[in-house]
Amino acid sequence: MTGKPAVLTSVEIEEITAEMSHYADKAAVSIEALKIVQKYRRWVSDECLVAVAELLGISPAQLEGVATFYNLIYRQPVGRSVIHYCNSVSCWMLGAEQVRERLCRHLNVEPGEMSADGEYTVLPIVCLGACDHAPVVLVGGQLRLDVTDDTVDEMLGR
């Protein structure tokens, strides 16, 4: 297409195209492609989503269906680090609410919001498979187990 400003960078396009070579069906790359975009931008904007869909030859709605199904694909801007507190049953019984409250109070946000300094976003997540160490938090790709008020404070550098 001519005249349309490129939304994706050539690096992103290259990486996505490389992924596509592994599958018979381009649409199979949907999640990988979204992760690639997110790797560079922290989140996936509408423009990026449309551009990726075009690259994969599927409709934006189809890709949006995938993007919104996975809770590690962010469709809104997020802070430099995203804190996912588990709120599934074990964690919920052992204090997930308390963890959430402390996180939110410190950062002055509601779940789903970004802290004013753009540093953190707090989001709930489903069972992280570490129920024996509930409550559990996932931050920067790392699991924090047996989380207490102190762990939260330490995590946020308070």
Binding site: A61, Q62, E64, G65, N71
Partner: protein, 889 residues
């Protein structure tokens, strides 16, 4: 066969079927949401739970989802067991946690599957007191409303829209208890079958926006069995009226034709009936109103005075026949375009004497290899495209069978579809809306498409003539297609009038004839609701009328705008030469404007008639409500004075006059038909306000209008039970207020209607024709010259539906399509305009250009059927010039 026991009673049923439809077919009221007869089982909603006992001793049993459970011999089940009832009651309560309970303001109310199931399951008191999640609704275009809060997440919408109809722009977003069914952003739903969402969604999320504009509850609508007037397929419809206004059209189940689904043209194209352009009074010279008696007298006088009659493919057999009887066979002209008449005559000849079966839409769905020659079916015969899309699934069903997967298990069968698709080949002038389902496509001029067809036929049977000088690519494709068709057990060839090419139709016959399979089939699309019926009746050509006019005193034109049939200057000359022209029609038109005598004709909703669809099936449409005085059926205007024939007598006379039409009297029962001595009511028993509806005129309830012509009454009184399923005006059963009540009227769920589907086939395969030999030369572009290809559009080309505002809103502006190389040679870009001058003369037409890479160079694609494009004839050569004036931005 299997014997199963349900709540202590034994039943003989088909083994291996899904238990849910089996229970429904046995008459049980078992609740369900996610299952749909056309979509199969996914087990998503958990609403169809029953108890399955392990063995004769088992007292407790376990819950199973009926829709996911195959019937096996000796099964012991309970629908009534308290645990099962409790589960269903609780399940629906959970599904409804977020439901707004806004039935009084919901347009689904009164025909809502959710209401029916809620009551049926016994969940009658809402206990949830928490907050409900709410959603923002989207604008989805002029056809469909969106009210997401009512969603119970059954997933039927996306399964129909995406999986069944191939739509890409409706999806489900989010997860667990927060899911949203909608588009990526606000905007028109793109799929041509979107209207079915209104009936597929069991709640009020998707409702008919055109109906909202003049809404009435289902029980307040007057209805009669009808047939769609907007293309040649003859889908069955149930139009609903209130206060003398047609309020909506919904699907009427026909197991052989449209099944559960209509296209959006058929569903939303009804607005022309209520249009301000309706002709409502007899007039002279387009200005002077006259009394109906004077008009009738005038017409009778003219008919007796060397009149010639012009028939119409959108008028009933009866109306055409009445005209033909009055003016005499030698003075009756069909009112078709010249080429169109030749094509239709060729089609009738092939269907009647070609020895190849013309399939119903149900049979189309069963084809295991398909070749389409020369059409974009979605635009020329929309509902057929939906059936063809299903045919592609047959290889997956076959594969599933070999893996012991039941055909009704939707997800695993769809998995098979990734690698197993029955071949669909599309040869067309440019990209089509069905290409995504095709195994391969071919683009070429109609001649080249025909040549491909002839080559396929020759490859299948060397006795068939071979096109000379076919290029290697086309030859290789022909061989590949022939290979697939040869292996098929139920191969199908599709062609039709949209290509406007004789050669294409003849090539299609050669291919079908060359097919080795016993169950080979051949179907032709035809443009209008009675094109085939008119052609079967037969008559002289419009061109001949143009010549004959000199000796005639009068011209009577039946429901026809001749400017759509022949070049304007010829029609002008004809109408001028005729001097005295009478037009009987429902809508104003250029032809009607020129009438010296104009008679207001009833539409399909206001009178009766028989139509013959492309399959050769005669179907009756019944008057839904009385036409406003003095509007009457064309057949009534024309038969007055003919010893005042009744409608049935007219049908019978028509059947007698044409051996090919003998069976039309059996298309539906006549006026004498009663059930237990009573006529069939058009109004539901709950019809409200009857005593008050006209109180502003007269407070005494007026006498009900009498209908002497049909088995129906304009009343709520009459036969209540035992009405033949195909004649039921309103599909309703106790406890089943939604359209899903149709379960109660079928022979096996999703099968034929009990007592037989609607209509009667007039043509069965017999005889054989010789190979067609007239193979055209390949198309060679001539420098600076373009060949006009008229391209029909689902929302842009059909005369009547285009007069319905919501549909007109969806119609594209007429365009001139060019191959990119041609566009650059002309130095035009998309958005520029071109001046088109036809070799045949006439005024220059200026149209905006769109660039279509799939269109071969040398062809000029033009939107068919629009006023701006009426002057173009198919295949006519034209020259192009960039239109100056507007500077391209």
């Amino acid at each position: 066969m299997a014997t199963i026991e349900i709540d202590g009673v034994q039943y003989q049923v088909e083994a291996g079927e899904s238990l849910l439809p089996v229970c429904l077919a046995l008459g049980f009221d078992l609740t369900y949401f996610c299952w749909h007869p056309a979509l199969g089982s996914v087990g998503a909603c958990r609403q169809c739970a029953v108890i399955h006992y392990h063995d004769p001793e088992d007292q407790k049993g376990r819950l199973v989802m009926a829709c996911m459970t195959p019937v096996a011999d000796g099964m012991r089940l309970s629908i009534e067991a308290e645990q099962a009832r409790e589960f269903r009651r609780d399940n629906i309560e959970l599904l409804m946690i977020n439901h707004p309970h806004d039935c009084p303001v919901c347009e689904e109310g009164g025909e809502c599957h959710l209401q029916d199931m809620t009551l049926m399951s016994g969940h009658t008191t809402r206990r949830y007191r928490g907050r409900k999640r709410t959603h923002k609704n989207q604008y989805l275009g002029p056809f469909i409303n969106h009210e997401m809060n009512r969603c119970i997440a059954c997933y039927r919408c996306v399964r129909f829209y995406g999986d069944y109809a191939g739509g890409k722009d409706l999806q489900v977003f989010g997860m667990h208890n927060n899911v949203y069914f909608g588009r990526f952003e606000d905007g028109v739903l793109e799929n041509e079958f979107s209207g079915n969402l209104v009936e597929v969604c069991p709640t009020g999320v998707f409702t008919d926006r055109t109906f909202s504009a003049h809404y009435a509850r289902k029980w307040d609508l007057q209805t009669a069995p009808s047939v769609c007037a907007h293309c040649g397929l003859g889908c069955n419809t149930a139009p609903g009226e209130r206060y003398g206004e047609l309020r909506r059209v919904i699907n009427r189940y026909n197991g052989e034709v449209n099944g559960y689904f209509l296209c959006d043209r058929g569903r939303f194209g009804y607005g022309f009936v209520n249009s301000p352009d309706r002709i409502l009074k007899p007039r002279m010279h387009d200005r002077m109103d006259i009394t109906p008696e004077a008009a009738q007298q005038q017409l009778c006088d003219w008919l007796a005075d060397r009149a010639i009659g012009i028939g119409s493919p959108r008028a009933s057999l009866e109306a055409n026949f009445a005209l033909r009887s009055r003016v005499g066979e030698e003075n009756f002209f069909l009112g078709l375009g010249d080429n169109e008449q030749s094509l239709l005559e060729a089609i009738v000849e092939i269907l009647r004497h070609g020895g190849i079966r013309s399939p119903s839409l149900r049979e189309v769905e069963q084809a295991d290899a398909v070749l389409i020659l020369g059409e974009d079916v979605t635009h020329s015969a929309p509902r057929l495209a939906l059936s063809l899309r299903q045919s592609v699934r047959n290889a997956a069903f076959e594969r599933a069978r070999s893996l012991n997967i039941a055909p009704w298990l939707d997800k695993p069968v769809r998995e098979q579809q990734i690698d197993h698709r029955s071949p669909l080949f599309i040869a067309s002038v440019c990209a089509t809306r069905l290409d995504d389902a095709a195994a391969d496509t071919y683009r070429g001029s109609p001649e080249d498409i025909a040549r491909l067809g002839f080559a396929i036929a020759h490859d299948l049977d060397p006795g068939a003539p071979e096109p000379a000088g076919l290029n290697d690519d086309a030859r290789a494709l022909a061989v590949a297609i022939a290979d697939c068709l040869r292996q098929a057990r139920r191969p199908l060839v599709v062609a039709g009038t949209a290509s406007a090419s004789h050669a294409v139709i003849e090539a299609a016959y050669n291919v079908a004839k060359a097919l080795p399979a016993k169950d080979r089939q051949l179907t032709f699309t035809v443009p209008e609701c009675n094109s085939l019926g008119l052609a079967m009746m037969g008559g002289r050509r419009l061109r001949q009328a143009f010549e004959a006019v000199r000796d005639a005193g009068r011209v009577i034109i039946l429901e026809n705008d001749l400017y759509r049939r022949a070049p304007a200057w010829e029609v002008d000359a004809f109408l001028q030469a005729a001097g005295r022209v009478a037009v009987i029609d429902c809508l104003s038109s250029k032809t009607a404007e020129k009438a010296a005598l104009l008679l207001p004709a009833a539409t399909f909703a206001e009178t009766d008639g028989t139509l013959v669809n492309n399959e050769g099936r005669a179907q009756r449409y019944f008057q839904v409500y009385p036409a406003p005085e003095p509007v009457r059926g064309s057949w009534q205007w024309l038969s007055a004075g003919m010893d005042n024939l009744s409608f049935d007598a007219l049908t019978a006379a028509c059947a007698e006059a044409f051996p090919a039409l003998t069976a039309i009297t059996q298309a539906a029962p006549g006026a004498g038909f009663t059930v237990d001595g009573m006529k069939i009511p058009r109004q539901p028993r709950r019809y409200s306000g009857r005593t008050a509806m006209e109180a502003h005129i007269n407070i005494s309830e007026p006498q009900r209008p009498v209908d002497p012509e049909t088995p129906f009454t304009f009343s709520m009184e009459g036969a209540a039970a035992d009405v033949p399923a195909a004649l039921e005006p309103i599909i309703w059963a106790p406890g089943w207020n939604s359209n899903q009540a149709v379960n109660k009227f079928q022979d096996g769920i999703g099968g034929h209607l009990r007592g037989g589907d609607y209509g009667i086939r007039l043509i069965e395969a017999s005889g054989a024709l010789d190979w067609f030999n007239a193979i055209p030369d390949a198309f060679k572009p001539v420098k600076s010259q373009w060949r006009i290809i008229l391209l029909p559009h689902i929302f842009g080309s059909e005369e009547l539906s285009l007069r319905s505002p919501p549909l007109a809103e969806r119609s594209p502006s007429p365009l001139a399509m060019l191959n990119p190389s041609d566009a650059s040679a002309l130095a035009v870009q998309a958005g520029d305009s071109v001046e088109i001058s036809c070799f045949s003369g006439g005024p220059i037409v200026v149209l905006p250009v769109s660039i279509e890479p799939s269109l071969p160079a040398g062809l000029l694609g033009i939107t068919a059927g629009r006023q701006e494009t009426q002057r173009f004839r198919q295949s006519e050569p034209a020259t192009l010039k960039k239109a100056l004036g507007e500077v391209p931005s």
